[in-house]
Amino acid sequence: MPRISYYPVEGIEDPELRAILDHAARHGTPRPESQAIRAHVPATLRDFWAQWEHTFRNGVCDHAIKELCRVYVSRTVECLYCGNQRSTGGREQGLVERDYDELLEFESSDRYDERQKAALAYAQAIVWSPEGADDDLWERLHLHFSDEELVELGYFVGVTFGQQSWIRTLDIGHHEVLDESDEGLAPHELRARARG
């Protein structure tokens, strides 16, 4: 049971909010349950849509890098609800499920290139040791990213880190709201559902 009730989103008539919820139901990431919590306050639902649209789905930094950082954050802060979602945009940019397997051991993994590792190290610093972002880290980052990409990537990691830290206190789960599609769910979440 969620700690805050799901807003009865089926009754929402505002076309902008309706479109945001329909997108969640059909495409996921975010899935409908977290949006149904935000729907209690239309300003937060609209705001999160704008954050996601401008700094995650689109923007100056490639989406696949941001998707890896999003799931790294999920794994490291243990937000299972968020970590069991996959961005369809990431898949279209070439990410496969195995790319998510070694995120917590990214520095020692040969699955990630130096650019991906630098981005993940940035995400790690934002979550766990912001004061420890030293010259070595910034040198790595500037080697692979423009200042604009670093601003957008860091801002986005801040947003997803904060949202996931909040969501993990809410005890929400998948298939509880507008359960129209499995789009955006991780394969192991789909297998668990199939097993009932």
């Binding site: 999160f48 700094t55 972002a133 801002y155 801040g158 904060g162």
Partner: protein, 135 residues
Amino acid sequence: MTRRVDPVGAGDAIRARVPNVLRTYRSTRANVLEGGSVDPALKELCARFLAEDEEMAGLDETDAYDERERAALDWAQAIAWDPGLADDDLWERLHSNFTEPELVELGYYIAIVHGQLHWLRTLGVHPPREQLIAP
């Protein structure tokens, strides 16, 4: 001397390198961080807690905060540092002191400020107290 125009804070100066980032955050600031229905003083208290303001009274000081403030600060602590603290007792206190829309606005607020403070610290930016409500 009469104030002319305030300079933007360091956070906004950095966000401005990507206009869509600054535009998005300024909308967040207006509509959720500084706007909304939750008392701005309560939001600022949570932001000071997240920023680890050493001038704040500790959560263990029993008379320092009223029930509503204490519930909000305990939730901020759970969100930022230990989700295990968000137990039945805390949720009972949260629902006793806030409506569900207020809880959504407050939780969303804490999430945004927590994330932005962490990111800004990696850049060596520590927003001054007067900017903490929307760093």
